[in-house]
């Protein structure tokens, strides 16, 4: 009997232990080294205890505040755009006209790509000299910055957001479409009979019923965008200057380009704290009745 009670925990233990080892090691490593001066280029081991210097330096040496602002802007606007574009396309699919099945199968293609590949696609399309998009846009009289959209401080971050939106809008579209299908036709018919307009139907019935799915999707996507590294790396490398640097790219630069391990460790903990706050705020507001 005691074995029966323990069995589920015994089954969970291997996965939890391996994951704990894989998480606690980096977090512990970062916590310890955040109080030490250590540059991997000059020494293979931490040099001396430096108190809170690393935490101070994060703000003085790296554009941490700017990276945080860029990251929140990218994640917030990107998720918002992807959700509503995806919802629009889901409603188009929901008309069930002939051919929609084929469209849906093709539509998911951007989401299957590795983010670096999506980055290359648009890097090619956006090349200032010889790229298709600047050429088309100039053809219709749209102003294109001479350094291109990726080389201009005012448009670089926005362009990263557009590419991510290109890649992930289809994801929202097909999942929200699946959500729309799960809403019972009878409820919608009844409201139509009662004289509700389609517009009213969408806002008052479909959208509230999609809320649990939508909340889940938005949380997942917001955090994936918050963590963006691949796209930034391929499209702009955080530039020009630091205008499109995100927190993940800032960590990469300090840790694996400058090899400033102590400072990176301090930044790691700042990011871990920010991420925990965001996730918990989200769970608190959206999942007060935790549904999963």
């Amino acid at each position: 009997m005691r074995f029966r009670k323990r069995l589920p925990y015994l089954l969970l233990a291997p996965s939890i232990l391996i994951l704990l080892a894989l998480i606690l090691y980096p977090l512990g490593f970062a916590l310890r080294n955040s109080f030490w001066f250590w540059n991997l280029q000059t020494s293979p081991a931490p040099l001396y205890h430096s108190g809170l210097d690393n935490y101070r330096m994060v703000f003085q040496v790296t554009p941490f505040a700017e990276a945080l602002k860029n990251t929140l802007l990218l994640a917030g606007l990107g998720t918002f755009a992807q959700f509503w574009f995806g919802m629009g396309i889901a409603l188009l699919l929901y008309t069930h006209l002939r051919g929609m099945g084929l469209f849906r199968a093709l539509l998911i293609m951007p989401t299957t790509l590795a983010p670096v590949v999506a980055g290359f696609l648009f890097r090619y399309l956006l090349e200032p000299k010889g790229g298709l998009l600047p050429w088309l846009l100039e053809g219709v009289g749209f102003p294109v910055p001479p350094q291109g959209f990726l080389g201009n401080a005012g448009t670089a971050l926005f362009s990263i957001g557009v590419v991510d939106t290109w890649q992930w809008t289809p994801f929202f579209a097909i999942v929200l479409y699946a959500g729309l299908l799960s809403i019972s036709e009878e409820v919608l018919e009844a409201a139509l009979v009662d004289g509700a307009s389609r517009w009213r139907l969408f806002w008052s019935i479909s959208l509230p019923l999609l809320r649990p799915i939508a909340a889940f999707l938005v949380m997942i996507r917001f955090m994936q965008l918050f963590n963006s590294f691949d796209l930034v790396y391929v499209l702009t490398s955080g530039g020009p200057g630091t205008s499109s640097r995100t927190l993940s790219f800032n960590l990469y630069r300090e840790g694996l380009v400058s090899y400033n391990i102590g400072l990176t460790a301090a930044m790691t903990w700042l990011v871990v704290i920010i991420v925990s706050v965001i996730i918990n705020l989200y769970l608190f507001f959206i999942y007060r009745k935790r549904e999963w």
């Binding site: 977090l27 293609m109 670096v116 097909i174």
Partner: protein, 276 residues
């Protein structure tokens, strides 16, 4: 539901055409690039119809074919990560699907918190750890660290499939004298097999498309194909022809797998949370 009028149909199809051009067009354009002669990459106005040229693929995969080994590496790392995650995930998913226990909700949330944590936070310490224990640049370094994503994902998705195997069948097996382990292998595994295959395919794709771990943890001889494409980004310019040919080969397996997955795509992309 009311059928749309002809005018509405025209508007819907026109919008859908724009959607398709926007979302599929860039991929087709890039595939064409792989078949262009390198000197034609920047020709404007662009040539839609041209003599396809296999030169890029020959250089990258045949002679000298520096990228062929990366294709093999990608297969090794993605398959390895998928196979390693399965036993861990199967056990955990079975426990979460079949037992009432305290803290189940917390454990589920804990798995998902790993999926949305910033991987860059983990990868820098791994980079130093792997060189200390002599695993720098090894396949096992990538396969092991990818488990931070592969196991939580597989647990969630497998649980959603196991939830659908009726418990009656298992109970019938117990009555017939099978113990829990025998029932697991005789009932759950065969009935959840489609789910196990679907989960493995998704884990494979996510591992295949992952760039951060191999970028930091591989060496030149073990690096994967998506990372290999980045090497055509030289300071002297971008070798678009070669880059496109490797990127096109790198995008094929995920695309084919997604087409095969069909109606499971929604479920996989939402970790089993939306049935689709």
């Amino acid at each position: 539901m009311r059928a749309p009028t002809t005018r509405q149909k025209i508007i819907i199809y026109a919008l859908m055409a724009l959607v398709m051009i926007f979302f599929v067009g860039p991929i087709l354009w890039f595939i064409l690039l792989a078949f262009r002669h390198p000197s034609d990459a920047y020709n404007l106005p662009p040539e839609i119809i041209f003599q396809p040229d296999l030169g890029n693929f020959i250089t990258t995969f045949v002679e000298p074919g520096n990228n062929a080994i990366q294709l093999v590496n990608s297969l090794i790392v993605s398959t390895g990560a998928t196979l390693l995650s399965l036993p861990f995930a199967l056990a955990a998913a079975y426990a979460l699907s079949r037992f009432a226990m305290r803290g189940k909700e917390f454990i589920m949330n804990w798995y998902i918190s790993l999926l949305i944590a910033p991987p860059i936070v983990f990868v820098i310490p791994y980079f130093i750890l792997m060189s200390w224990i002599g695993w720098a640049g090894s396949y096992q370094a990538m396969i092991l660290t990818l488990q931070t994503l592969a196991i939580p994902f597989s647990v969630w998705l497998l649980k959603s499939f196991m939830d659908e195997v009726p418990i009656d069948l298992e109970e019938a097996a117990w009555v017939d004298g099978a113990n829990r382990f025998a029932a697991f292998f005789r009932i759950i595994i065969p009935l959840a097999l489609p789910g196990i295959i679907v989960t493995s395919m998704f884990t494979f794709v996510f591992s295949w498309n992952n760039v951060l771990f191999p970028l930091v943890l591989s060496k030149q001889s073990t690096t994967t194909l998506p990372v290999g494409t980045i090497s055509f980004f030289a300071s002297t310019g971008i070798y678009w022809g070669y880059l496109a040919s490797t990127a096109v080969v790198a995008m094929l397996p995920p695309m084919i797998i997604f087409l095969l997955l069909g109606r499971y795509v929604v479920r996989g992309l939402t970790f089993g949370a939306v049935k689709g």
